[in-house]
Symmetry: C2
Subunit: 253 residues, 2 copies
């Protein structure tokens, strides 16, 4: 069965898009047929993988105007890696969908049309609005990037609360946090303190893999490349390859 993993946290700038792109690309490199769904109206993941942020049709036609299916919208962007692009039009989702019955399950229903993928990775905006809730309901697993700061830890706590509310109010059985991943890790005291707090309060879900702070990840994004294309033997690529392995191991439970 396909594994659907959402990358989410309300805290902005913690590395959600960078993680979504490089995890999806890493899974594809290992031969797993992967679809990345960009559910963030900023379309940063779409931009890195295609160089374009106004692709149409996009998730907007799939979720808001209901005029396209996911297979129709998916574009091939790397070997074994397809993308369902985002578009700024998607910003209208919260307002337009707020009064639609079953507004939280739109994406989950649309995923039923997909065949032939081993993994679906969903990038989300830094909020707990309609788009992120749809991604959480549609997926069984959530990966939470946690930057090296108190604010990022707060974001993880808020997300845990939201997941519990979704499970209770919407009767979703199988949604759980696959893992919390330390990002922007470096040798500062704030990083040491943040990791110590993560181990203490969230130890059961804390992944061993940490993504280091490295300007190469920033450069790769700016040059519209995955880290494997930009610096295949560097610390960034090694960390994401380890993340791919850890995601695979956890999946066998």
């Amino acid at each position: 069965p396909v594994r659907v993993i959402t990358i989410a946290t309300q805290k902005g700038g913690t590395g959600k898009s960078t993680l979504a792109v490089n995890l999806a690309a890493g899974l594809a490199l290992e031969g797993h047929r992967t679809l990345l769904i960009d559910a963030d109206p900023q379309a940063n993941s779409t931009y890195v993988l295609t160089g374009d942020q106004l692709l149409q049709p996009s998730l907007y036609e799939v979720m808001v105007t209901n005029s396209a299916t996911l297979p129709e919208v998916a574009v091939s962007c790397r070997l074994a890696l397809d993308l369902c692009p985002s578009n700024i039009l998607l910003s209208a989702a919260d307002i337009v969908l707020s009064s639609v019955p079953g507004r939280e399950r739109i994406l989950s229903r649309k995923l039923r049309a997909l065949t032939g993928y081993d993994f679906v990775i969903i990038d989300t905006p830094p909020s707990l609005g309609i788009l992120t809730v749809n991604a959480l309901v549609a997926s069984g697993e959530v990966l939470v990037p946690v930057g090296m700061s108190t604010f990022a830890l707060i974001g993880l706590g808020l997300l845990e609360d939201t997941i519990n509310q979704i499970k209770e109010n919407l009767d979703i059985e199988n949604l759980h946090i696959l893992g919390a991943v330390g990002t922007f890790h470096d040798r500062t005291n704030v990083a040491r303190n943040t990791m110590a707090a993560l181990e203490e309060r969230f130890g059961s879900i804390l992944f061993k893999t940490m993504i280091p702070r490295t300007v190469k990840l920033e450069e790769a994004n700016n040059r519209l490349k995955t880290i494997y294309e930009y610096e295949p033997n560097g610390a960034g690529a090694q960390a994401f390859q380890a993340l791919v392995q850890e995601v695979m191991t956890h999946g066998q439970e």
Copy 2:
């Protein structure tokens, strides 16, 4: 007359809250009576200034349940600096307010009850939803923190589009971008390239002041202090003092 300045960009993690707190605190230190309104449900600004993120009543009672006025909710947190706190309950604003007539002008109407302030600074979430639109409509000026990345430049472009839409669709005359402020500035190539792109495409609104990347700003936030309290003579405090001066100079136009 009171100056109302919103700190906004859809791009997450570019330093909105850090800028809002330290600009507001800097204005207060110069003797200007300042109110910081935290319109982000994450309540990061509220947490730094009070150590609490679940204060009630909050902006939720002012904007969503309409059961309190701004003066009733404002708490004094430093000399000459009051705060209208946020609370995670505010996450409901997009859904609850989506069908309310005049939903974009709620905060602007509530600001009329304020007296005795020289400045109102509004921190916003990383999205262009109801809360940020209310802040933009309520203020005359917008300060946009731009991190050293392509994604942050995209965020500035998207915000410009949103501001133009608000002015046209809601007949708001006096809303304009006070300035774009480079944040997380360091000596990397990506920072050099980002500043060059900012000067070329947004030169007319680019502030001279840049906020340096310094772990002291991260530490100050984690220790619930303003930068003036944590490292009064460091690069962070100097940059924010220069920002206060630049905001004051621009205001005389």
